[in-house]
């Protein structure tokens, strides 16, 4: 494709990406460098059904004036990035000099909100992605072999978890794993422990969330693998059959190498998706024990006080950096393959 044609072909989507992805990122970055202007407090008399008393209140006029002078808020540089709710440099330094063992240091580190959220997010990413790829591949292979008349309904059934909105899907499962729900009661029966509850401990909640993640993401891997399976060349397979290769050998030596680039693509998308995990945490009411980076942003923007734009902006930036780190190895690999193919 000549460069000029390519430019005009790419221009509309490039423009849309710049407007709807690029600019918001830049805006979030600027917001993350600022904090709210100082709140000016005053003592006033307050009367309610329980009586009158003197209480503190925000001096609206003075504070509004300050806000008008600095609509973005006070410039705080990278201060928000370093505070306790984000990278917590001070706290880490202190923990490093005060803790006697690596174990104690890790405990303190993982008690800080950002690192706690990072640990869950990464655990979720790396626990969900491999099973999704493997399961998706197996399901695609099996469905590829069943008779044509059954294919349609089976495919529909398999992609159902992806069709269900994550929030609804997780809410449905939340009630099913309740101690009185069908899954919860069955598990209690199987383990013969009437007090076993999937919602009560951190570990079990994490496992539940991960299983939900696998259930929800597998259809995506399946769809992509299934499409790719249709492009596997038949000639080498027929040749292999004539040579007496077993089904396993054919899959191992012909199908898998052919699907390799597709698997890279699926891993890429899955890692990116799972790094942003949010809905299952809300659906399973797991905020107490499992927080992700996206949940931190959500919480900052839905806190009961003024929205913490600076804090949310900082977490967003850190999430973007996190995604970049996560994807680098896969991207480098893809780039190398691209180069060698040329």
């Amino acid at each position: 494709m000549p460069h000029k044609t390519f430019f005009w072909f790419f221009f509309p989507s490039g423009l849309a990406m710049l407007l709807f992805i690029g600019l918001p990122i830049i805006s979030s970055f600027f917001q993350s460098l600022h904090i709210e202007p100082e709140q000016i407090l005053m003592e006033v008399e307050k009367c309610d059904p329980f009586g009158c008393k003197t209480e503190t209140k925000v001096d609206i006029e003075a504070t509004t004036k300050l806000q008008e002078e600095q609509p973005l808020g006070r410039f705080n540089g990278l201060g928000t990035y370093g505070d306790r709710n984000h990278l917590a440099f001070e706290e880490i330094k202190e923990a490093w000099s005060n803790s006697s063992s690596i174990g104690e240091f890790t405990d303190i580190l993982l008690n800080l909100p950002f690192y706690k959220a990072l640990l869950f997010t990464l655990t979720f990413c790396f626990a969900v992605t491999p099973p999704v790829v493997i399961l998706g591949f197996i399901v695609a292979l099996s469905i590829n072999t069943i008779t044509k008349s059954l294919k349609g309904p089976t495919i529909f059934g398999v992609i159902l978890p992806m069709i269900v909105t994550p929030l609804i899907g997780s809410l449905v499962l939340f009630w099913m794993i309740d101690a009185k729900g069908i899954l919860g009661a069955t598990i209690q029966y199987l383990f013969d422990d009437p007090n076993l509850s999937l919602k009560s401990s951190s570990q079990l909640t994490w496992i539940t969330l991960i299983i939900y993640g696998i259930w929800h993401n597998t259809p995506f891997a399946f769809v992509v693998f299934y499409a790719a399976l249709q492009t596997v060349p038949q000639d080498p397979i027929e040749a292999a059959i004539i040579d007496g290769a077993s089904r396993y050998d054919r899959v191992r030596h012909i199908v898998i190498p052919h699907l390799y680039p597709v698997a890279t693509f699926i891993i890429l998308i899955c890692l990116m998706d799972n790094f942003r995990v949010l809905e299952p945490i809300i659906g399973f009411a797991a905020e107490g024990v499992a927080q992700s980076l996206s949940w931190m942003i959500y919480n900052d923007l839905r806190s009961e006080n003024k929205m913490l734009f600076g804090s949310a902006g900082a977490t967003s930036m850190l999430t973007i950096i996190g995604v970049a780190f996560l994807l680098t190895p896969v991207l480098i690999r893809t780039w190398r393959e691209f180069r060698t193919e040329r």
Binding site: E36, E43, V44, D48, K199, A285, A286, R302, K306, M307
Partner: protein, 411 residues
Amino acid sequence: MKKLLIALLFSFVSTGAYADGHSPCGVTDGSIKILANEFTTYRIFMDEVKSCAGDGADFSVTHSVDHNKLQVAALSANPAEFSAKLVTNGSITTLMNDNLIRPLDDLVAKYGSALQDNQKIVIDGKIYAIAFMANAQHLWYRESILNDLGIAVPSTYEEVIAAAEKIKASGKMANPYAGAFKSGWNLGQEFVNMYLGHGGDFFKAGTAEVSVNNDKGVAALNMLKRLTEVSNPDFLTQDTNAVKEEWESGNVALMHVWNSGAASLLDDEGDQMIKADTRLANSPTVGGGSKPATTLWWDGFGIATNTSDANAEASFRALLGAATSTEMANANPNATIWLIDGYTPGDTAGPVVDAANRGATPYPSLPYMALLHGALSTELVEFLQGNESAEKALADVEAAYVAKATEQGFL
């Protein structure tokens, strides 16, 4: 097809014609959009508001348990998403901080002759909200179960735990106690109750500097921990509505929830055996204190700053109609304690009146209280799960609060 189109058009026209109806509160036009919490008493109140608004105005109400989290974003927009918000002494400060609700003096002077003085929430000489009910959390118990086991109605939390352990030991119930311990606002509120019951202060007097990491805080946390041990193991996922469901399913014999819960717990739906056995008791004291470990709340309404004067007036008149409706109050005497003139309290009002008489503290209306409540909401979970000491949990609360309050400009 053409006929269908005509029929459709016609039906639109005819609904338009019907819309020109009668409003008992004199609301003729305007848009009334209300954001409110979700529980039965508010539904009763909103039905009255709706009938008061009549057909003349564009009326809608959004009930959400997340109302506190939605309010700032929804009312900051100009024009605001909602013309009115049901507020409490907890949520009004957040709206006041950002100037999101307007003074109501003019409207009160024009229409508010039926209001009682204690319904007017006056801040710095101006009326910012109209209260219509008072509420508090207190103890509820199942009479037959306590009687069977010869347990006296507990008046302290120590007795609550002893009673719960006795019920557990008898094999009648596995988890006899329930409280709204859902991580988030509910859990924060449980700590607020318990800490005030121990006589604690959240802030150094007159400043936004937090001080909860002290003996009283530790004692309050340890008491919460002991209560969760006699509760359903899923306590971290149960909010007030979930606790009420547990009660109505007969799984719980003692609980500490809102007085307004009577509206759904004592109605004609659900298991009538449990209803007949449900009793209300005063809120217990804790740690030898004299004040009950609960907070007093008023519920009322405020009108958005960022809405047109016409919408504000329509919303005010409709809400005022309900907030002065003696008939509604007396038709639902047990739904809550109405602050409305001419209301005769029902037999469920006792525990709230008792809490007020024994000096229970109203929930603190401080501009930075919501930030502390937010920090409590998330940082106490690990302690309740047994992964952290009480001192560490409280230190985390303070640190989380300081980081947020600094970003907000309070420190």
